[in-house]
């Protein structure tokens, strides 16, 4: 009797807590999502479209530009997300140490990139990576390279610049989540480990990281979604060039909807490619961090 009362209580509260959010999502998300799903089966241009069945999906497989955008996006994802999250975690760990002097300054400084205006940031990045820019001058001054690297004009280096730019902008952002989560760890555990002579790296690896797992999973999923929807950086720095080497799926969606003769249907189909990729990757990420004891 008491058991069922508790279960009922749980059930009611369970829905009560999530209901305001679900109602709002129901109003503002369901219709747009159904509309876009329906659009993804429409063919035609501008406002003249008709049901095309699988035409858009067939078009995807025959579209070399889509393939290029997909490949670029996945390369960005595979390289950039791990680098950024590891950096963010290391910075958060260093700045969570009460013995580090000037933590407030460092935290603010590393957070600064994600609030710096896109205009200022794209202009400085382009200037820094110009053929006669400061990066080349430095590298040549240190005799690391003999001749200037054509950062933005070469398909390989342009990708490197875009990866550097995203990492620059979003590392501090991810660091905030880790810093906040570190406050929720009981400090006495660290003290005990320290007194037992556990070295700093081992405390980080065996204590901090496992306890941050849920938030690490969160940042991994969010960054995956963010990178799959990557638009600002390549749009501002390289416009997707040279030779489409930094063209992303989101830029292609934008081009299909607003730059080219609008094909909203096909653009929606490409959008759902991103959704499917997120579904697969998030599933793998959830699987990877799943508590093995459970």
């Amino acid at each position: 009797m008491a058991q069922s009362h508790l279960a009922r209580n749980e059930r009611i509260n369970g829905w009560a807590f999530v209901m305001p959010a679900l109602i709002l999502i129901g109003i503002f998300m369901i219709y747009p999502i159904i509309w876009s799903l329906w659009m993804s089966f429409q063919v035609g241009r501008g406002m003249q479209f008709s049901f095309g069945g699988l035409t858009n999906i067939i078009r995807l497989t025959q579209d070399p530009i889509f393939m290029r955008a997909l490949t670029n996006t996945l390369i960005f994802l595979a390289i950039q997300v791990p680098i950024m999250l590891v950096l963010a975690l290391l910075f958060a760990n260093a700045l969570n140490n009460p013995n580090i002097w000037g933590r407030g300054f460092f935290r603010t400084a590393i957070f600064l990139p994600c609030v710096t205006s896109l205009v200022a940031y794209s202009v400085t990045f382009k200037a820094m990576f110009a053929a006669d820019g400061i990066i080349n001058q430095m590298l040549m001054g240190l005799h690391i390279i003999g001749s200037p690297i054509p950062w933005l004009a070469d398909p390989f280096w342009a990708k490197v610049v875009v990866i550097a730019a995203i990492t620059w902008r979003w590392t501090g952002y991810n660091m905030i989540f880790y810093l906040a989560a570190m406050q929720n760890i009981d400090r006495s555990i660290y003290e005990a480990a320290r007194i037992d002579g556990v070295p700093a790296w081992a405390r980080f690896w065996y204590l901090t990281v496992p306890m941050l797992k849920p938030v690490i999973l969160f940042t991994a999923v969010i960054s995956t979604i963010g990178t799959l929807q990557l638009f600002d950086e390549p749009n501002l720095l390289t416009q997707g060039g040279p030779s489409d080497s930094t063209l992303t799926l989101s830029m292609y969606i934008y081009n299909l909807s607003f730059k080219f003769m609008p094909s909203f249907g096909y653009a929606a189909t490409v959008s759902y490619v991103i959704v499917i990729l997120v579904a697969i990757l998030s599933f793998l990420q959830f699987l990877a961090v799943r508590d093995r004891r459970a």
């Binding site: 603010t108 400084a109 957070f111 200022a120 200037a127 929720n184 969606i253």
Partner: protein, 272 residues
């Protein structure tokens, strides 16, 4: 206590942090320098402070009805942040603490919704707002982002660190579920709320594309829309853009600066 190895490690940490701080601050610093120069100097790549700051500020302040624009931005970001934190943390807590198979499925579907690019949702959302007669209103901007799946997900993950014992103890003390949320969970999770406040405020404050589409009159415009207008055209005055950008950055920065102190207090300290 401090052995040579630890000292080297400490030194390396400072070097790495200083390097990261320098790289991070540089474009911001450049933006500040740029705001003091004339546009012509800025485009030529002048990297030393100039004396055009007041003139640039003056031009920026006359480029739009700034008090109105700043009010719009603060109103939307302020109301939006409070509502988002409330609705989304409730849901995040709810999904984590009260588990059921149905709600897990709902949650999974929500995560997928989060990954639909906004470009695909913009047009139907616009149709929806037109039908709800909400065009050109604050509600049209605030309401769609109040139930932020992103923040719900964040709170859900952060709640995993919320000790069960606290909740059980509160229940034994006879607290109702909403009281537990309000009087136990919220104070304990202060650092999570601090991080979420920074992120949510920043998202609302910088929101650009949706306000652009749904706002129709000059008296409803927000700061990012005004700054974006400045940086376009055939002969944009980038020095004024820099002033506008700094202006548009400050509120988020101040909020970050005030709230980052929360990141030095442990959670349990708040409970004891």
């Amino acid at each position: 206590m401090s052995n040579p190895l630890a000292l080297i490690g400490r030194g390396a940490t400072y070097v790495a942090l200083s390097l990261a701080a320098f790289v991070s601050v540089f474009p911001f610093f450049w933006m500040v320098i740029g705001s003091t120069n004339t546009n012509a100097d800025l485009i030529r790549g002048k990297a030393t402070p100039g004396d055009a700051l007041w003139r640039n500020i003056e031009v920026f302040f006359t480029s739009a009805d700034l008090p109105r624009v700043v009010f719009n931005s603060f109103f939307i970001a302020g109301v939006g942040t409070v509502l988002t934190l409330l609705v989304s943390s409730l849901a995040g807590y709810g999904f984590e603490v009260f588990r059921s198979r149905t709600r897990e499925r709902v949650f999974a579907v929500m995560l997928l919704m989060l990954s639909v690019p906004f470009a695909a949702l913009m047009i139907p959302l616009f149709i929806l707002m037109a039908n709800l007669k909400l065009m050109n209103s604050y509600q049209a901007i605030i309401l769609p982002s109040v139930a932020s799946i992103f923040i719900i997900f964040y709170f859900r993950q952060a709640t995993k660190a919320f000790p069960h014992e606290l909740r059980d103890a509160a229940r034994i003390d006879g607290l109702k579920e909403w009281q537990i949320f309000l009087f136990v969970y919220m104070p304990v999770m202060r650092s999570t709320y601090a991080a979420a406040t920074i992120i949510v405020f920043m998202t609302h404050w910088n929101n650009y594309l949706w306000p652009l589409i749904v706002l129709q009159t000059n008296d409803m415009k927000t700061l990012p829309l005004v700054v974006a207008t400045l940086s376009q055209g055939y002969t944009p005055d980038f020095a004024v853009v820099m002033v506008g950008s700094i202006f548009a950055t400050l509120p988020t920065l101040i909020i970050f600066f005030l709230l980052q102190r929360r990141f030095v207090e442990g959670m349990l300290g708040a409970v004891k």
